[in-house]
């Protein structure tokens, strides 16, 4: 495998890891506050549709992004209503949200565009276009560093850079601010937070809303940057892979970056069977490679490679008095 192939592979790794990273951080906020969220996939899907639809209708991708975030946020609030206010089962609520998004997006897409559950293809300002970083063209001829900078680091859409910037931001917010301390506490021991006079319900709603915003960006990235338009079920289980990455990362932001990059690499390899064959000399079936994130997550969950310990109060509704 030559250097350019490697750069190309890493380049598509970054592209594929971005939605996973955003969704993974979204799940991180929610689960760190004690709200399990298996509805990440549905929220991404809803955001993907609404951002593509609004971008297609108004020709402005930023309006689309806002619409996507709004759609994802609405589903997040539904999840909050069910699991925080009415103390319902968070897992069941997540399942319902996934199906709601899967059904409604196609239904509305068919009603608005009559194209069999897809949006028209997005062009020009209706998409997030690649940004060329300064001097990218100038340094390209430089050996080794040139292609690295021009191909791998430069030339992504703004959402990719936003996603990578979200990692240190999440770390700072969780570990260096009062809000972060409380958020982590509410996922471990909500009664203690309550005793300290801080609203458990308020904190959990805040976490669920942050989750909604991040999922919204992830979904918008899928339909307006990674691809040019919405197609039915386009999230393709990415929300579940993000969930797997979250467990893989043991609910920590920096680990989440590495986990999603790893899973992104698997995704990139899936489209390049020739590279795998050249690397290990054996032909590997694409489908099996696609299942690798799930298999690895099960192994991690089983505690054979390190132990993934979820936030202690995760999944349980908080009841003030018993």
């Amino acid at each position: 495998m030559d250097y350019m192939t490697l750069i190309q592979l890493l380049d598509s790794t970054v592209r594929l890891a971005t939605p996973l990273l955003l969704a993974c951080l979204a799940g991180l906020f929610s689960e760190r506050a004690g709200i399990f969220d298996i509805g990440l996939d549905g929220k991404m899907l809803a955001a993907a549709f609404f951002s593509a639809a609004i971008a297609a209708l108004y020709g402005n991708v930023w309006l689309g992004l806002l619409a996507g975030i709004a759609a994802s946020l609405a589903l997040s609030l539904l999840h909050g209503l069910a699991s925080i206010t009415f103390r319902g089962n968070q897992l069941i609520s997540g399942v319902a949200i996934n199906f709601l998004a899967a059904g409604l997006t196609v239904l509305i897409a068919q009603d608005w565009f009559q194209q069999g559950g897809r949006t028209p293809s997005l062009i020009g300002g209706a998409r997030f276009n690649p940004i060329t970083l300064p001097f990218a063209d100038a340094v390209e001829p430089v050996p080794f560093i040139g292609p690295l900078y021009a191909e791998l680091i430069s030339g992504h859409s703004i959402l990719v850079y936003a996603a990578f910037a979200a990692v240190p931001l999440t770390w700072w917010l969780l570990y260096r601010t009062r809000f972060g301390l409380r958020l982590r506490a509410v996922g471990e021991n909500p009664a203690a937070v309550d005793t300290a006079g801080v609203s458990v319900i308020g904190l959990r709603y805040a976490a669920v809303c942050i989750c909604g915003v991040l999922c919204g960006i992830a979904g918008a990235y899928l339909s307006t940057a990674l691809q040019a338009g919405f197609i039915k079920d386009m999230s393709a289980g990415r929300g579940y892979i993000a969930l797997a990455a979250l467990i893989f990362a043991k609910w920590r932001p920096w680990y989440a970056l590495w986990a999603t990059l790893l899973f992104g690499l698997f995704g990139a390899l899936e489209t390049r069977p020739d590279v795998i064959e050249a690397l290990i000399g054996v032909k590997v079936q694409g489908q099996l490679l696609g299942a690798l994130p799930y298999v690895m997550t099960v192994i991690i969950l089983a505690g054979f490679v390190g132990k993934a310990i979820p936030p202690r109060a995760g999944g349980e509704p908080y009841v003030k008095e018993r």
């Binding site: 298996i38 539904l78 209503l81 069910a82 699991s83 009415f86 103390r87 319902g88 089962n89 968070q90 897992l91 069941i92 609520s93 399942v95 319902a96 949200i97 996934n98 199906f99 709601l100 899967a102 059904g103 409604l104 196609v106 239904l107 509305i108 068919q110 009603d111 009559q114 559950g117 289980g237 579940y240 969930l243 797997a244 467990i247 079936q285 489908q287 099996l288 696609g290 299942a291 799930y294 298999v295 997550t297 099960v298 969950l301 089983a302 505690g303 979820p310």
Partner: protein, 373 residues
Amino acid sequence: MPKWAEVVLVPLISLILAAILSALVILGIGEDPVAAVKLMVTGALGSTYGWGYTLYYATNFMFTGLCVAIAFHARLFNIGGEGQAMLGGLGVALACLYIPWPHWSLALIGATTMAALFGAAWAAIPAFLQAKRGSHIVITTIMFNFIAAAVLNYILVNMLRPKGSMDPATARFPDATNLPTLHDLLAPIGINFSKAAPANISLLVAIAACFFLWVLIWRTRLGYEIRAYGHSESAAKYAGISPVKITMITMIISGGLAGMMAINNVMGESERLVLNATEGAGFIGIAVALMGRSHPLGVFLAAILFGFLYQGGAELALWTSIPRELIVVIQALVILFTGALDNMVRMPLEKIFLSIRNARAPKPERKPVEPAE
């Protein structure tokens, strides 16, 4: 709250709420909900052909609904019915392709056993990881759904696909394994049932499974232990019930039931194993179990309702511009209202019943307080 309200009123109100929202969705996309319901009823229940499809879908949902329901009794959430049903399909395919069955009845027994074994094995791994290693069963069963899809894809493409065929599917099963349809079963007693509809003898197996599950849960020692474990793990432990044993057995039964779905869709309908044969039935099992309140009779009724919705939805997609995904929305709303937002329905009802009881009961006589001297 009285028992009848718990069993009938709460699910009914949840269902009505889901129906109202579904009607609003249909209105929202510019169609007439009343006409849609009429079309669904005639399409799904207006002919023996419609009934045949409704019952065919209902059979699938009975198996997957029971699968989720039995796990609920032990407070386990088995989201992996889909993957377990896929593996069940593999079991059926192997049984039908490689064993020369002399008669369909023997083939049915053999295929059912294989389906149950494969489904149970696929559920046993997450169960073991939950019981012994403490990994969350919801996450592992989700992961196992994806792994099942990948494994099945691999096996179909690379091993079971007949030579020269491009289609990722097995060869057609031999004729001796073809199950009698409801047409064949009802003809001797003079009922002319549609020949084209796929409903088959698996329906009777599903109904038997409902009955056996009822016996298991409420009439056996094991069922008692499962329910006790579901109500309180610590109390069950104190009573000498082993959490490992209950988790394993419950999930094995659960996975076996999901796997058995394959005798209906793989052996009864398509008569070969195709990719994505389950068509999401494993997930509909969640809605069915929630709506049926995890009771086998409830699951039976809810499965028929969802069978009706499925067939009716197909008719809608055929005759109007409403896509089939409407059913997914309805399914989501049912899961939402009967599952996640259960307390939203239950809390006000409990208040109403409490106030009725207080109003009826004679107020306790209060002794006049002697004025202090």
